[in-house]
Amino acid sequence: MGSPNHRLYIFTGKGGVGKTTLSLAFAKYLLNDKKKVLYNAFDQEEPTTLCKSQGIPSFKLDLKKSAEVYLGHKLNSPILAAGIVRTPFFVSLLQVLPGLGHLIMLGHIFYQLKSDPDLYIVMDSPPSGHALTMFESPRTFKDIFKSGLLVKDIEAMLNFILDDAILKTTVVSLPTEMALQEGIELADSLKSYPLKNVSLIINNLIKINSKINDAHSSDLPPFLEKIINMQEEVVSSSPVRIDTTIPYIISNDTSDIVNSLTPFMEELS
């Protein structure tokens, strides 16, 4: 297997499509290839038990800490930075402007990757609408601050995000009308950013699960046949290209599902 083509892999999409299981499976795929990887759940709850049981190293982003570290660098004084970050005004500002928090956290990720050229990060992003807020946060605050040192840093971050070699974004969807439509809309928004390397995939396709595929159609109950047909129709009548399809995994154990998905991850690198 060749080297992965990018350094920051973001899995995004509608709530419930499988971002977490796929990003963990992908991190595992990179680990199996002896790469230095960190899994990150951005501002979502990290599945720590699952990460540990899978042996996937992870790091959490603490908003206040990230802000403090960044300000400490800028002001050349960690003490001053600590003071500012603790002021009621700053705390309140972060709560009222979630985009600012996103910017700070993205900055931290960017900093990690810049300072360690061997590192790969797999990010399990927030769901669609909130993912857009995250992706747009650098631009939002660049427009607000207009010029100056902060803008220079934001521009560096933007160049990083827009760099062909750095970021790959996988928009995950499901074989239903609602999910695919949301995936298409999200992928379009991201491409017009203009993010390069945005791919749209469909997860949980029952038909391509090898056990189901091998079954004779007479073995499948009518309700399942109907569901499979509806799924196939969604895929075949998709107005845009679907880059990859991932099978539905028949299991109630998330660890099991992550293991079963890992062989399909090479296509996503």
Binding site: K14, G15, G16, V17, Q44, E45, L71, K74, L75, L80, I84, R86, T87, P88, F89, F90, S92, L93, Q95, V96, L97, P98, G99, P127, S128, G129, H130, L132, T133, E136, S137, T140, D143, I144, F145, K146, S147, G148, L149, L150, V151, E177, M178, A179, Q181, E182, K211, I212, D214, A215, D219, P221, F223, L224, M230, V234, I250, S251, N252, T254
Partner: protein, 360 residues
Amino acid sequence: MSSKSIEIFCGTGGVGKTTVATARALFLASTGNKVLLITIDPAKRLKQVLNLSDSSHGEVTTISHNNFSIDSHGDNFTFDALMMSPSHTFKRLTEKNNRQADMDSYIMQILMRPNSGMNEIMSVIEVQHHLSEGKYDTIILDTPPGKHFIDFLANTKKIKLFFGKTFVDIFKLLRSDAKKRSNKSSILGSVVGAGIKKVLNHLEKFTGSSFVQDFVDTVDSLYSNREVFFDSFKFQDNLRDGELCTWFLVTSANQHKMTEAMDISKQAEGLLNNRKYVVINSCLSEYLDDWDTGDDPEMQKFKSTMQVRENEVKEFTKGKFSGTFELPQILEQSPIEQVVALAKYWQKDAHKREESKADD
């Protein structure tokens, strides 16, 4: 407080919140209830479910009965829908206060863009506005997935903090200072405490030269519209009122994230009330029970995997809510067909309850 009730649909991602909330709205409208369905999820799936146009963002749209093949009580069918748009909400509130010029603040314009992150805070104001207006019998809220819903509920607290006493005094000072100053750098002269001076002082070194001035103007603009933000404090009280507010945790029979779902439920209860129901969507038990897998081990495994998961979801939620609704998986492709099928389920369920009441 004039609207008769508000129903909130929350849950983890992908369980069917939007479809279920819309079905519920359709059902209530079919009984002659005047309904407003609001979606505050920035992903706006409601647009697809109800075939709404992009131009209807932020505007209340009337949904015609003709869209649905469902019976309703005579001519009384009022079903309105609204997709939240922060800029529309902000525009309405500046117009209400006759402060249209506030719309010109470039910072506010940027912050009110759909993806700037102000969606949830402005949603509180928008929903409270409709509650106060009292135009509808029931307002139904379709919320963003998972913890983003909890963030939305916690917004009243954030607004209170931002407009809290310390900041209010400082904003007043900033405004009066702004009027007096001749030199931009003297803005920060007499502001103390709460750290604003500290933050702005250092900020000036890193941003464009006009930014701090623009920032102060924006804060001034927010402060001038503060009454509307304060109105939103009533929102929290309204949601806590069990007579007014009912909420539904939507989960799915193939839900993997049971722990997260129950976590949301627990946090929601702390911020709402205990008039809570659970909706288990996409149930396949009837189909699964009828499925004869024969000797095929793979099919047996498939069937039992699905049954086990569905039963776990049902067990997990048993006894923890005032009531449970088990909605069947609808084998229809189009979202509108799914909505109609689920609305008919609510109709049948309502009939059953009436009949059993009559039997008592």
